[in-house]
Every structure is written in structure tokens, then in C-alpha cells.
């Protein structure tokens, strides 16, 4: 046993060192802004920056709207596929995976071509239009994660029987969806939402090419012109992503079932 267990611990130690060493180095560097001593000056500078606040707020609002629209599109689709069109599951899954295989740069050029100022629907011609276009682009980017999370949650409950039980009580489709299905797949929706948030908050390609004042382009700008602040921002971005992952763990325990507690 001993040698096997030692090998396993060694593998874990190597893995942890591989991932943590650069992170610790980055964190350590972000504390060196003041000469001769460690400080949080780089963080203070970043937080005090108006551009940071504006871009972070912009991306946060955009992420929230993206999540909301994503839920509105994904939940009814996944529900309907599960309930009435199970034969389409493969096709729908394939479609939802497309954003993973088509590079973001290709997608955004497609958007610009389709919705450019000389097109029938010139969304890029106005600020609000470009914001909407960015949001829909992000819904697409988050689709693989949101769909998978929701679909897994739907599979863990007996969608058909719950739907029929609610129908026999006189409920219509909206009541069923919002009062029965949504609360019971809350964990899946939250998982999808946090993943989407983590993607949107640092996304660069879409925001940059659509010329939107998002957090991703701000990170790139700071990275190109400052020394310590980019390290501070990198650590903050990690912390934010970890927070999202932690929240997924917190809420992602699955729905309460007939057989046991969450």
C-alpha cells in the first residue's frame, strides 16, 4: 500500500506546485509596488481607478443580463426537449457545443458582417445596439455551460411526472415552468449562471472588436502599460472565478429528492 499511497501524494504535490507556484509568484509580485517592502498599493491603485470601476460595472451588468437572457432561452428549450422532443437531444446538444469549436474571433467577425452599419439590422451603429450584440454573443459563448448545467439538473428530476401532476391540478405551461420546474433545477441554473459570469467578466475578443468598454479590454490595456497592476488584476480575476466556483459548489448539490436531503 505504502508505495502506492506515496505515489498518489507525490502526484498531487506536483500538480498543486504546478498550479500554485505561478499564482504565488504573481501574488508576490503584485505586492512589490512599494520599494523595499510588501504592500497592497497595486490593488489600491486599481480600485481607485475610474476606468476599472466603469469597466467592471459594465461587464458585471452585461453578465447579469446575459445570464437572464440565457436562462430564458435555455430553460424552456431544455425542458421541451426533455419532455416532448427527446429525439432532438443530440441535435440540440451539438448546436450548444458549437461555440466551443468555433473561435470567438470567427463569431465576432460574423456578427460584424451581419449586423454592421451597412447591414439591414445595423446593431453596431449605436451604442445600445452594440451592447445588445455583445450580450447576445455572450449568451452564445455561455450556451455550452448553461445548457449542460440545466440539462443535467432536469435529468435529475422526473420532469414528465411533475409536469403531469401540475397539469392535473389545473396548471398551465407558464405556471409549471416557473413554479415547478425552475425551483427544482435551481442548482443547475446557478451553476450555469456562475460559469457564464466567469466567462463574461474577463472576455476580451468580442468586447474589443465590438469596441465596448468592458473589463476584458481594460485588463489588456493595463497589462500593456503598467508593471504591478496587471498582477493585482490577475489575482483579482482568479479570486472572482474561484468565488464563482465556490458558489457552484455551494448551490450545486442537486435538488432535494424523495430519497434524501440535499
Amino acid at each position: 500500500m505504502k508505495s502506492g499511497k506515496l505515489g498518489a501524494w507525490l502526484a498531487v504535490a506536483v500538480g498543486v506546485a504546478y498550479f500554485l507556484a505561478p499564482l504565488i509568484a504573481t501574488f508576490e509580485f503584485s505586492l512589490r509596488m512599494r520599494r523595499g517592502e510588501y504592500s497592497f498599493d497595486a490593488y489600491r491603485v486599481v480600485f481607485a481607478s475610474g476606468a476599472f470601476q466603469a469597466s467592471f460595472l459594465y461587464s458585471t451588468v452585461l453578465a447579469v443580463v446575459t445570464i437572464f437572457v440565457g436562462i430564458l432561452i435555455v430553460v424552456p428549450t431544455a425542458y421541451w426537449v426533455q419532455l416532448r422532443l427527446p429525439r432532438l437531444r443530440g441535435i440540440v446538444e451539438f448546436i450548444t457545443l458549437l461555440p466551443l469549436v468555433i473561435p470567438a474571433i470567427v463569431l465576432v467577425f460574423g456578427y460584424i458582417k451581419l449586423y454592421g452599419s451597412s447591414s439591414i439590422l445595423p446593431l453596431t451603429a449605436t451604442s445600445l445596439g452594440a451592447d445588445a450584440l455583445l450580450m447576445f454573443g455572450y449568451v452564445g459563448l455561455g450556451l455550452p455551460y448553461m445548457y449542460r448545467s440545466v440539462e443535467t439538473a432536469l435529468r435529475s428530476i422526473d420532469v414528465r411526472t411533475l409536469t403531469e401532476a401540475a397539469e392535473s391540478q389545473g396548471a398551465g405551461i407558464f405556471t409549471i415552468l416557473f413554479r415547478i420546474i425552475l425551483p427544482n433545477i435551481r442548482s443547475g441554473i446557478l451553476s450555469g449562471a456562475f460559469l457564464t459570469f466567469a466567462i463574461v467578466i474577463g472576455e476580451f475578443t468580442f468586447a474589443s472588436l465590438l469596441d465596448r468598454p468592458a473589463f476584458g479590454p481594460y485588463l489588456q490595456l493595463i497589462g500593456a502599460s503598467r508593471a504591478y497592476e496587471p498582477s493585482a488584476l490577475a489575482i483579482m480575476a482568479f479570486a472572482l472565478t474561484w468565488a464563482c466556483m465556490g458558489l457552484i459548489q455551494l448551490f450545486g448539490g442537486g435538488p432535494r429528492t424523495f430519497t434524501g436531503k440535499r
Binding site: T161, L162, E164, E167, G170, A171, P255, R256, F258
Partner: protein
């Protein structure tokens, strides 16, 4: 006009017909059971009444209104599912009040009805519990209360006892029947358990391969099965071949021995071979009086089942099972011993091919 009428119901999935020529009238307040093996179409028929499936042909009328194409949520039908189907995100009280809330009932009325239902199922202390905190039997009681709370026209029970253990199954079936009698609600119950069907129903509809085999009271179904399938599906049964000797007096030949039935032989001719049913509990060991049939055989096996001693007697080719009550005093019959078996002339039931 009956309260619930199913006329010429057919249901097909592609070329596969799962319900065929289903005609049934159910009176108001009646408790009717659909009984049959898995895949016989009983649940599909129930789901058509509920509105979850649409018949390929035929019509469904409830209280003289055609509901064949009416959506499930407009039919005012209460349904209890095998898997309970309580809403996991709601408490017991919220589950029971769900239908009333959907119907827009005032809060005070809703609260009063929920309390009434909780008292009815004898679980008032569990109002604030969630489904996962309840046992299977408690969940099914709540499911029943939820189905009854909006005062539906018809109560549909889709194998509601199948997921429960034997002891709770028996007590809950008695409770369901008592409630149904008290409320006088028209009820359709689906089961594959003949004991449940026999003990609970006003009438039983025995189904096989998508079609009705026989409709009748529990005693009719048990004592006068009209087909070989019904006879074999309901209760333990001896199925033997009887060769017609003289149809006018009901004389038949069973493995070279003469027997007589008082039941009609439906135009059978001498030499015809008919399947005949004999209930094990109708048979007695020993020679019978002159007005009874007596067959001779050899005891092949004896099984002590507690209240009943089950004896298998070999005639010649056929073997018949005889159930005798355990009197406590008698010694068990001996294997290999010659024995006479007697039964009444009404007990030999000729079956129709279906």
C-alpha cells in the same frame, strides 16, 4: 347517460395498437379498476382519461361533455401517480393547496381546505414538512390529498400502491377505499395486483393486449371468468382440458374420468376439447356425494402455507392443485398416496377462447 363514457377508444403509436376498441361506462361514485399485466394498455387508457394522451379514435365524455381533445389542465381530474410526484420545492401544505392556488381561490378558503385535507389524511402535524422528509406511505397520502383538494370530477389512481411495502400497501388501500366511499367520488384505479383489484373495486375491467377481456364485479371476475386469460390472471387456478361427451347434460371427459358441469357449453359438440377452470379452493379431498364430481389421482406434492395446505394431485396427464384449510388437527396428506378429489358441478367452468 353514465358519468364517464369511453366509446370506441383506440390508441396507436405508429403501427403498434396499444388500446383496441375500448368501450366502458362508469357511473357516478363508482370505483372501477383496470387490471392487467404490464403493457396491456391500462395505464395508457387512464392517461387518455386524464388528458395526457389523445385517443387515435373514439371519444371520452365526462358528465355528458366531450373531453376527448380537452387539455389535461381543463378536465378537473385529480390524479395520483405511482411515483407520488409531489413537488419537491413545496411543503406538504403548499403541495395540497397548489391546485386551489392555481384556481385563484382566496387565501382563507385555501387554508381551510388544506387543513381539512390534512385532517382527512391524518397528517395535520406534517403541514410544514418537505416531501423528502416523509416516508413513502406519507407521501402517497399527501399525493391523494393534493388530488382531492380541488374537488375533482374524477379521481385517477395510477398504481399508487406499487412503490410501497406490503404492510403499508394493505392499510393504504383500505384508507383509499374508505375515503372514496365517504366522498362518493368516481374513481378509476389502475393496478396489476389482483388482490388490490378484488378488495377495492365495485367493478373490475380485466385488460389484455390492449383490449377488454371481461368487465364485472370482483366476485363475477373471480368466480365466473369468461376467458382463459381472466381465469389464469385472477387468482390461482387449475386449467384442464375437458373433452365434450354430451353437451346437453354438461358431461365431459377429464383425463379419462367423467365429470359434469352445470354451466353452459355454448354449442360445443361431442369430441370438442374445451379449456376448463377449477379454483383450488373449490376442490376437496375425498370422494364426494352423488351430486358432486369425483376424480381419482395420486398426491404428487404437498406444500404447507400456514393457513392453507396446497396439495398437487396428478390425474393422468393433468395435475390439479387443491387448497385445503389447515385445521391444525389433521396430519398432512402423504406424497404418493392415492386420493379422490371432489368438486361441485358449478365449480367446473368452461372457458371461451378469446
Amino acid at each position: 347517460m353514465s358519468f364517464l363514457n369511453l366509446t370506441g377508444i383506440q390508441k396507436a403509436y405508429g403501427p403498434n395498437k396499444v388500446v383496441k376498441d375500448f368501450d366502458l361506462s362508469v357511473e357516478r361514485g363508482e370505483f372501477v379498476t383496470f387490471l392487467g399485466p404490464s403493457g396491456c394498455g391500462k395505464t395508457t387508457t387512464l392517461r387518455m382519461i386524464a388528458g395526457f394522451e389523445t385517443p387515435t379514435e373514439g371519444s371520452i365524455r365526462i358528465n355528458d361533455k366531450d373531453v376527448t381533445h380537452l387539455r389535461a389542465n381543463r378536465r378537473a381530474i385529480g390524479m395520483v401517480f405511482q411515483a407520488y410526484a409531489l413537488f419537491p420545492n413545496m411543503t406538504v401544505a403548499q403541495n395540497i393547496g397548489f391546485g386551489l392556488k392555481v384556481a385563484g381561490k382566496p387565501a382563507a378558503e385555501l387554508q381551510a381546505r388544506v387543513e381539512e385535507m390534512l385532517a382527512m389524511i391524518k397528517l395535520p402535524q406534517l403541514a410544514d414538512r418537505y416531501p423528502y422528509q416523509l416516508s413513502g406511505g406519507q407521501q402517497q397520502r399527501v399525493s391523494l390529498a393534493r388530488a382531492l383538494a380541488p374537488s375533482p370530477q374524477i379521481l385517477l389512481l395510477d398504481e399508487p400502491l406499487s412503490a410501497l411495502d406490503a404492510r403499508i400497501r394493505v392499510s393504504l388501500r383500505e384508507e383509499i377505499r374508505a375515503l372514496q366511499r365517504k366522498l362518493g367520488i368516481t374513481t378509476i384505479f389502475v393496478t396489476h395486483d389482483q388482490e388490490e383489484a378484488l378488495s377495492m373495486s365495485d367493478r373490475i375491467v380485466v385488460m389484455n393486449d390492449g383490449a377488454i377481456e371481461q368487465v364485472g364485479s370482483p366476485s363475477e371476475i373471480y368466480n365466473e371468468p369468461s376467458t382463459r386469460f381472466v381465469a389464469s390472471f385472477v387468482g390461482t387456478l387449475n386449467l384442464i382440458d375437458g373433452k365434450i361427451v354430451d353437451a346437453s347434460v354438461g358431461a365431459v371427459d377429464i383425463d379419462g374420468q367423467r365429470a359434469t358441469t352445470r354451466r353452459k357449453l355454448n354449442g360445443a359438440k361431442p369430441g370438442d376439447v374445451l379449456a376448463m377452470a377449477l379454483r383450488p379452493e373449490a376442490l376437496r379431498l375425498g370422494a364426494g356425494s352423488d351430486d358432486r364430481n369425483t376424480l381419482a389421482g395420486v398426491i404428487e406434492d404437498v406444500a404447507f402455507l400456514g393457513a392453507v395446505v396446497r396439495v398437487r394431485v396428478r390425474l393422468e396427464r393433468a395435475a390439479i392443485i387443491v387448497d385445503t384449510f389447515n385445521s391444525g388437527a389433521n396430519d398432512l396428506p402423504t406424497r404418493g398416496a392415492s386420493v379422490a378429489v371432489n368438486f361441485g358441478r358449478d365449480d367446473l367452468i368452461p372457458l371461451h377462447a378469446h
